[in-house]
């Protein structure tokens, strides 16, 4: 893996706190079986790590089943020590429905991207929410198809450059972004909906709190849960890895405000 800027030969051991800082998480959750293979600065591995920490803290690991869609995060199936169905693009909420209805004592989550949930499978998540399925859907929203190299998705914000909107998304030409969490929040059957991000330490901490509440909603049988997590994709955004966090604040966060929509 090469660094996008600076000296590629410098390796950073993330289990050691930088000078003057302190580690606030354990070096590596035991559910993490290996290193991720995604780009430098990607937000998805951060979301994965927080998810695994939440499952352990809730002590539900031995009854958790994941349903993973198609995107860069699909490679996480190899590194998370969780029973997983890797399903068709967009269909995770339906597969999760079948699993949860037959195994009501399990904790079932989906891991999907914006391309998976908002493009290919918008109908699936809306109907699963309206049916009040007792599952937790997690949407990793970076506004691009990362796995195929950065094309326009339904959540690409106006003005954002992608390989299929190279001059920036234009509403008249490309249509307007779809706020998935807001759509889901309007439905009966929903127990918890939140939008968060992983671009700052505070946001990561908030993501952990929200994921925990979403799983608690499922375990209490209170209804469908969705956590939309804005994640950095420097490669797909044509910025350097260190610039990802700032870009997320200036672009996506303005269109997709963070916070709880249903709790």
């Amino acid at each position: 893996m090469t660094s996008m800027s600076g000296d590629a030969s410098v390796m950073v051991d993330t289990s050691i706190a930088p000078e003057g800082a302190r580690l606030i998480a354990s070096p590596k959750p035991s559910l993490l079986l290996g290193e991720h293979s995604l780009c430098p600065g990607c937000g998805e591995p951060v979301a994965l790590r927080v998810l695994l920490e939440v499952l352990q803290e809730l002590d539900i690991v031995g009854r958790t089943i994941g349903v993973v869609g198609h995107g860069c995060y699909g490679s996480f199936v190899r590194i998370m020590d969780i029973d997983v169905l890797q399903c068709l693009h967009g269909r995770a909420p339906s597969c999760a429905t079948g699993i949860k209805r037959m195994r009501p004592d399990t904790a079932v989550f989906t891991m999907q991207g914006d391309g998976d949930m908002a493009n290919e499978g918008l109908q699936e998540v809306l109907h699963a929410a309206a049916r009040g399925e007792k599952v937790t859907c997690i949407m990793l929203n970076n506004g691009v198809f990362g796995d195929t190299g950065g094309q326009l998705t339904a959540t690409t914000v106006i003005g954002q450059r992608t390989k299929t909107s190279i001059s920036g998304r234009d509403g008249d030409e490309h249509g307007y972004p779809v706020p998935v969490a807001d759509l889901v929040a309007k439905l009966q059957g929903v127990g918890y909906v939140a939008r968060t991000a992983v671009h700052t330490a505070a946001a990561v901490a908030q993501t952990k709190r929200m994921l925990r509440k979403a799983f608690e909603c499922q375990l209490d049988g209170r209804g469908f849960g969705l956590v939309e997590i804005l994640t950095m994709c420097p490669t797909g955004w044509f910025v350097t890895a260190p610039e990802g966090s700032g870009y997320l604040s200036e672009s996506m966060e303005k269109v997709y405000p963070l916070g709880e929509l249903v709790s």
Binding site: G34, G62, Q86, S94, C95, T97, G98, R101, M102, A107
Partner: protein, 352 residues
């Protein structure tokens, strides 16, 4: 023995076979099966979901099957077309379930036997000739699905869905099956030996799987092994027949009735009915056609099974279609061709 409409009989047979999850989207003549399942399955401790689309129905079914339960979905025609991606996925990630294609007619032959999904897979397809056989096939389908860890299609039709007959429902024993130790229940999570149902079969970073190349070759080999072992057929009067008539499903029942009549009149005719459309009973057909000077294919479509007949008889030049597209006025059932006198006339015409 109970007097039941086909849809009700199939629903009860599925439940007797241990089906505990069903999801489907209404489409006639499949609708009756969905209604029956929604009324009967919860009482048996199961779950039936009136899905918002065929795509959602089949993927819910895939999820329930991945969790280790006997599960089924269904539709017909265009609805089955929408499910093809998931049927192919289930073949490749080895999730067993049953798909009831309660079809409007016989135009779904290619769709069932060739599939519209991606990859090197086939779909075992059972084509019952009537309600009685459909009840048997329903039980057999769940067994074959579990035996081979693959989706299995039952190819029915309006006559099977809507005819009321006396049937014997009860569990059938087809022998032992391998344990579903692959099924996802969450108990392996966090043990270092967590499970995956994954078309790419990549495994874990600590315990790599075969990966797509080896996995997909193994899947192709599995279907190669199923082909010579799971084909089923019925036949009559083939030993010395100079004319052999091939037909499947309800049309096969009409043909066997007509051929039996013609035999009684002294004509050297035989009938052959593939029961599995895939695997096609090719070797059996080849043997049945040994004395035939003509092989007639009666199917209610533009000519689909005739391809498989041509591939399997000793001389493909002897093969001729005597069926055709034949849809009732409503578009939901068979047309004028599905009639014994018409079948008789077409056979006699071809024999001249």
């Amino acid at each position: 023995m109970e007097l039941l409409e086909g849809s009700a009989a199939i629903a009860e047979s599925a439940i007797a076979a241990g089906c505990r999850f069903f999801a489907g989207y209404p489409m006639s003549p499949f609708t009756g099966l969905l209604e029956n399942m929604s009324q009967k399955l919860p009482a048996a401790g199961g779950v039936c979901i009136n899905a918002e689309s065929e795509i959602e129905g089949v993927n819910m079914t895939l999820g329930a099957a991945a969790a280790g339960f006997r599960a089924a979905t269904g539709s017909c025609g265009q609805g089955i077309a929408l499910m093809q991606e998931a049927i192919a996925e289930a073949a490749l990630n080895e999730t067993p379930f049953v798909v009831f294609n309660m079809a409007r007619n016989q135009q779904d032959y290619f769709q069932c036997t060739r599939g519209g999904g991606w990859g090197d897979y086939r779909t075992i397809t059972l084509a019952p000739q009537d309600v009685t056989e459909a009840v048997e096939h329903t039980q057999l389908a769940f067994h074959l699905a579990d035996k081979h860890r693959a989706p299995v299609i039952i190819y029915g039709d309006p006559l099977i869905a809507q005819t009321r007959v006396g049937v014997d429902i009860g569990p059938r024993d087809f022998g032992p099956l391998p344990a579903k130790d692959w099924a996802l229940d969450g108990t392996s999570s966090g043990t270092g030996r967590s499970k995956q149902v994954w078309t790419w079969a990549m495994g874990k970073s600590t315990d790599p799987g075969p990966g797509p190349d080896r996995h997909w070759r193994a899947i192709a080999a599995k279907f190669d092994a199923i082909e010579p072992t799971e084909h089923r057929h019925a036949q009559g009067w083939c030993e010395d027949a100079s004319t052999l008539v091939v037909a499947f499903g309800s049309a096969g029942k009409f043909v066997s009735y007509v051929v039996d009549e013609l035999r009684a009149e002294g004509l050297p005719v035989g009938w052959f009915r593939p029961i599995t459309l895939w695997p096609f009973p090719g070797p059996a057909l080849e043997a049945a056609a040994a004395t035939a000077k003509r092989v007639l294919v009666f199917e209610l479509n533009g000519g689909q099974m005739i391809d498989d007949v041509r591939l399997n008889v000793p001389d493909r030049r002897l093969v001729r279609g005597i069926g055709g597209v034949s849809i009732g006025e409503s578009g939901l059932g068979f047309g004028d061709l599905m009639d014994a006198p018409v079948v008789r006339e077409r056979i006699l015409e071809a024999m001249q």
